[in-house]
Symmetry: C2
């Protein structure tokens, strides 16, 4: 027997309807991408009006249900309009990550069969270089007005403002099943080709409802949110939906994500909450410290993308009075999986205890189920010590990749393997200890590379550090610590090992230390362990019974 | 094209799974219904364990998907277990309201075809009287332990604790489509037979996600919530779902809802948030004032069910430091439609301005669409002045009544007519001005009976007041003010009219005042206007051109 409740499909454009009706005058502030553009100001009412005109223009262009329209753009009010305009005709907004290598972008755009690319001025030169390889693209919409249209060799170029202006004012959103595809974002895998995660309207709406719970992102109408995290990265942590859902104002930073530029927006626009990866916050903290500045309105920072050093959390809280929530997620999770909001009883703990908890990745919000498994698929205890494969299940979690890439990705119970290895403690706080493929298997036991790396970067002479497993005749694998020194600093193998001594279990101690000029990073700033393992593939550990013979290390 | 997201049906028992996993030790405190029962304490982990045993026992009994299992019970931990245990096998929890007349309860239980009734000891005498009329009931489960089982003439009686104990510890929740019926609650209509609202799992989960947004109920894991609003009333304002979803503790008041009993729980259990109808708060405020007491932990009060006098909001905020949220809803809305949380910019207004806004019924949370229509179905402006039929649309709003009662209830656009008449202001705040059937139509213009009543009860000699439209040869209808005086107080017709003079528009002034010993109330404490209109059906107004001839009034 079915309940007798209305059939009201969860469609993302209903979020914008709500924002325009109840928070029509809330400001959306954008730092223009155009060099002379300055600060632009608009409102949800205006974005609602323009997004519908845009949707109508897409309809006239011939964009149909399920078509992919790509965006290659910074966070601006036009990018926000674009998402809603695309989704509002039932097409799929496909975020292209400009930080990827050009050949990856070509691969992704062709794989997605994008019909249109909407681009910022910034990326016109990039598109000029690759346009001959883009097989499905019929038009390129440049997100600017007529006055700023560039000289370009691009073919079939459209001026965004003119495209919008041609749309109808009386357009009504399309309505369709809530499971209809809505957004597409490719994961930048370290091996193999990128794979597409295909969000539905339902998953985006449910994710935003869940993320807006008080103890998750807890967005309210009094918030002014600066999403530093780009819209082309992991669905913008859902802020493009959760902010208008709550009636929060948005400050869009455009192309300038450096410390001084972010600081200027935080202060001038009275931002209360912001979200970004640790490297952005490092730049901001450096700027604050170097210039003896304060943050006068910022209350909350969500940090995700990679593990946040405890020292960063401590600085934000002690020196600037800003509450830090460590969050964890993945493109495949829409993206938020856990948020590190303390439980009520934990708020009364001494600072160091709170810091220890806040350095974990947090608790799942309702709609996310998670557990950890051993190699045999058996669930491990939630004791904060056992670590295993982190698997997740929920309505905003991928069931597979676009066009079937990667094959079957769910286990028999419907859980998705995140590829992360983590602990979960008795309070439900999850802590990533490693990527599954980076874990070092020593004599059948697991050693976390990340734990050792986090300690090693605490040494004042270390710019970056990586730990990989290298072959050992007795233990199968043993850890090798690879160190990139800060310019002008020196540190020896013995000093590094002495620095770690006592901080980790004896059997976790690296068997050797190698120094390297540059630890290779991915386009998104993560350590390329595959590349490191390749560089050190013939490395012989001194403990392996013979003299060390470094391969490729300096 | 469908998104590639997991098929994770929104089922209410997943809420309890989440609470047990991440907030397993959160307390559920109950004031026992048994006279010698005192205070019982349990946790989400225990409720989760017991609800699954209960579900298993239902399964053994033969309860199947879609079967109705009724509860006739106060708010206790056992009632909470019952809801989850019933829903967890795919059956329908059907709340019977013990405040209805016995013949209404018989009608409802038969109409619902309840197979089992779960009852508190309190209602055993009531059931003994009506059991011969209950056609479908196969068993009556008494929500107590063996030691407290009563001597009773009831047939097929089962002791709840024994029933639970017989259930299996290894039971796994059923899984099924999220649109499956989950809960049933009948509206106590003032005319005609009660009609059943049939909630689905989906509507309950979505409603709780929406209600838990920061600016709606904003429940967090640090909250200790005392739902004074009974679970048999309008789906308990969703607190049975939204509290465990957020990990909030619950304090269940059992049968004692008087001022001193509620006060004792608020203080002893360190309650932070509570929800009830105005009459309960009146009793609490009287107790506080009469005994010079303070509220040391309470932060937020949600008031709904009927309009809350501004003086009550003022007292809570000024004298007790408690933030009042006026909420509005209906059984048909699951039930929350609007919540009166101020917008950020309104929080800075002077107290009187804030009070004026807070006295309205509030803004809809996302997932609730609302608008006001004139008699011809044309949308009226959101100017805070125009008032019309309030219609709503959303995923947790009824599409019809159980077994088709009442016929088609949605308009062509899918909106449900609430039967209320209201304004909506430019900020989106809705204010009920009347029930559509109680509005007084004077010369083609509408007069709000509620506005005049709210003013009239402000007179120190008035215990209660009602305004109805009575026939007028020229204006069709004109308002008659009906007053019930406080014992030992006197007030004249002229004094009443003088009291209103200047507070309302001239043409809204009642044409006459009638005094009556007792204004008739419904079982749920609302004024029975149908009955009043019947009493005064032959009333001739002095303005009708002849001497007044009161019928039935004293």
């Amino acid at each position: 027997m079915r309940g007798l409740m209305q059939d009201w499909p969860l469609l993302v454009h209903k979020i914008l309807d709500h924002a325009a009706t109840y928070f029509g005058d809330r400001q959306i502030v954008t730092r223009a991408v155009e060099p002379d553009g300055g600060i632009r100001r608009t409102t949800y009412a205006d974005i609602h009006r323009r997004a519908r005109k845009l949707a109508s223009a897409f309809q006239s262009f011939g964009v149909r249900l399920g078509d992919r329209v790509a965006t290659l753009a910074w966070n601006t009010e036009r990018h926000l309009e674009a998402w809603y305009g695309i989704a509002g005709v039932g097409a799929v907004y496909h975020t292209l990550n400009p930080r990827l290598f050009p050949e990856q972008i070509v691969y992704i755009a062709n794989h997605a069969e994008d019909r249109i690319i909407m681009t910022d001025l910034t990326f016109v030169p990039l598109l000029e270089k690759i346009q001959d390889h883009l097989k499905s693209v019929e038009a390129i919409i440049i997100l600017t007005d007529r006055a700023h249209m560039p000289q370009t060799s691009l073919r079939n170029v459209i001026c965004y403002e003119e495209f919008v202006a041609a749309g109808s004012d009386s357009f009504e959103w399309a309505s369709f099943d809530e499971n209809t595809a809505c957004g597409l974002c490719y994961t930048s895998g370290t091996t193999g080709n990128p794979k597409g995660v295909l969000y539905s309207h339902r998953s985006n709406v449910l994710h935003s409802l869940a993320a807006n719970q008080s103890d998750a992102l807890g967005v309210s109408n009094g918030d002014v949110i600066l999403p530093v995290v780009p819209m082309f990265h992991a669905n913008a942590w859902s802020l493009a939906f959760s902010a208008p859902m709550a009636g929060a104002a948005l400050v869009m930073p455009g192309a300038r994500l450096d410390g001084p530029s972010i600081y200027e927006l935080l202060e001038n626009e009275r931002v209360t909450m912001t979200a970004a990866v640790p490297t952005v916050w490092l730049a901001l903290l450096n700027h604050l410290e170097g210039n003896n500045l304060k943050l006068s309105t910022l209350k909350r920072v969500a940090i995700g993308g990679s593990a946040c050093p405890p020292s960063m959390i401590e600085k934000f809280e002690k020196n600037y009075g800003v509450d830090v929530s460590h969050a964890w997620g993945m493109t495949e999770l829409s993206p938020v999986g856990t948020v590190g909001t303390l439980k009520a009883e934990q708020k009364a703990l001494p600072f160091d205890e709170r810091l220890r908890i806040k350095s974990k990745q947090g608790r799942p919000m309702f709609t996310v189920e998670m557990k950890i498994l051993d190699d045999a698929g058996k669930e491990l205890p939630r004791d904060g010590k056992a670590f295993g494969h982190l698997v997740v299940r929920g309505p905003a979690i991928a069931s597979g990749y676009f066009k079937g890439d990667g094959g079957q990705v769910l286990d028999g119970e419907g859980f998705f393997d995140t590829g992360d290895v983590s602990t979960i403690d008795a309070q439900g706080f999850m802590q990533i200890t490693d990527r599954a493929k980076d874990v070092i298997k020593s004599g059948g036991e697991w050693i976390s590379s990340i734990d050792i790396e986090n300690l090693a970067v605490g040494h004042p002479a270390v710019a970056n550090a990586a730990v990989i497993g290298v072959h050992h005749p007795k233990w199968d694998e043993r850890p090798l610590l690879i160190v990139q020194k800060k310019p002008g600093h020196e540190v020896s193998r013995e000093e590094m090992l002495a620095f770690l001594d006592g901080k980790i279990a004896k059997w976790w101690m690296p068997d050797d230390v190698a120094f390297i000029d540059n630890i290779p990073l991915t386009a998104t700033g993560k350590i390329q362990k595959v590349e490191l393992r390749n560089i050190f593939k013939d490395y012989r550990l001194p403990t392996a019974g013979a003299a060390a013979a470094a391969g490729g290390a300096s």
